[in-house]
Amino acid sequence: MKRALPFLLAAILTCCLSACVKRADSGKGRIAVVISTLNNPWFVVLGEAAVQRAEELGYEAVLFDSQNSPSKEAEHFDNILSSGYKAILFNPTDADGSTVNARSAMARGVPVFCMDREINEPGAAVTQILSDNYSGCIALGQYFVQSVGRQANYVEILGLVGDNNTWARSRGFHSVVDCFEGLHMLSQQTADFDQNKAMEVMESMMQAHPDIQAVFCGNDAMAMGAYQAILAAGKSGRIKVFGFDGADDAVNAIREGKVEATGMQFPKTMAETAATFADRYLAGERNLPGKIPVAVELVNAENVSQFGNFGRREPR
């Protein structure tokens, strides 16, 4: 027994070492997933889908929350760049302000892939995978006119003013509704994509304008906030609510007749594409497109049964 013991220990040690070596071989390194905020379920889905896809591809993925703060985002980039990450899947806080972070990462050889939100310098990221917000809001605007009619008073609640998505959505919507002279926008205010702020903004808008018939919100969190304010004011059913994102609570609210329509973005598609592109880039591929728009689909009472869980229920 005593003679067998050293052989047994050696065998165990060999097994442990070979396991370590195998793990080091199969691991492709770490990928950082930097998300503008995890205070909104839509972005949680975006971040988690990116992490999941990166892990499926053999990377260790770490999720960072920028809390909608460019300075917090810059801190994350400092940490990421000093910690040997291979790539960054990036959902920026600001189209201009975040450019410097992406650029510095690229300059240090860490490729950046933007998801959902855009940065205003094309070369500062390898690829930007973005929702086609403008087209999505054109479809939403056309449905708005169909639903509200050509004579109505409405208000608009905008997202973060530094984010291109805010303006792409607003411009897409207005490219339609502004063609109809009978549609009057009584007020346009920002609520930073935040549900609680949107509730407060909607309350003050209803006090200032008792004759609002519809509200267009730049995302679903704000649409739900606006709906809460409308409900509290006893005006549910009299003010039609339109959102954008395709978040589950908004899709359920459409099903229940509380919200009229939303634009379904596909966060999982964007996140998975970004992770896949990062993997292809790290494998040596260099001819990746600079920007990839992802189509947005209108969700309303007629087709809501086809949607849920931040996408289409059935794979197409």
């Binding site: 086609d132 605007g141 291109n164 594409t273």
Partner: protein, 203 residues
């Protein structure tokens, strides 16, 4: 010793002056900036509008050809003859045909071409369809998506101003060449909505 100090002092003064006087940037970034500075989206749109509409007309599918192609393997047909922007379910085609007779209301010209209902908007033209079906523009040439979308507004404006006549003739036939979007998963819409690049009326 004094000479060494002088040299050191001179170096201490000259080196920062030289370093801060010269601005450097990566060649790729410089070329990208130069390309962006030279690119004028509306000029590009004007160029294509003036020079390439005839080529679109020549290459356009007939309405019958489109509907027959989509009635078979729609996805294969779409891949071969259509355009897709990014990731999405819609495919864009350029089609042409003649409405032997048509009706017109305030918003549409309505008729039938090769057995398929066609409507052509004449009052409101929204969206990116004219831009995306044409294949004239590459999103990567634009500073951001807002600039890319502005091209659509610009093109739609030119269509309304230059293609749609101020008064639609009450009778006759109408030749059209325009953009249409189809979802290959639902390839047989009741009606093709065509955003026109060209319209030609005959009594």
């Amino acid at each position: 010793m004094k000479k060494a100090v002088k040299i050191l002092l001179a170096a201490a003064l000259c080196i920062p002056a030289v370093v801060f006087a010269v601005y450097t940037e990566p060649l790729d970034a410089h070329r990208e900036k130069e390309r962006m500075a030279q690119f004028k989206p509306e000029e590009r749109a004007d160029y294509h509008w003036e020079h390439d509409r005839q080529a679109l007309r020549d290459a356009a599918l007939g309405v019958g050809e489109l509907s027959r192609g989509l009635a078979g393997d729609a996805q294969n047909f779409a891949d071969a003859h259509g355009r897709v922007l990014g990731i999405g379910s819609k495919t864009f085609f350029v089609v042409k045909g003649t409405l032997p007779r048509f009706d017109a209301d305030e918003e549409y010209i309505l008729g039938t071409c090769d057995g398929h209902a066609v409507r052509i908007p004449v009052k409101y033209i929204f969206g990116n369809l004219a831009r995306d079906a044409s294949g004239w523009f590459d999103i990567d040439d634009f500073q951001n998506t807002m600039a890319f979308n502005e091209i659509s507004s610009y093109l739609n404006g030119r269509i309304l101003a230059e293609v749609i006549p101020a008064s639609i003739p009450e009778a006759g036939s109408c030749f059209f060449c325009g953009a249409v979007e189809i979802d290959p998963a639902a390839p047989d819409p009741e009606c093709y909505t065509v955003i026109p690049y060209l319209l030609d009326f005959h009594e």
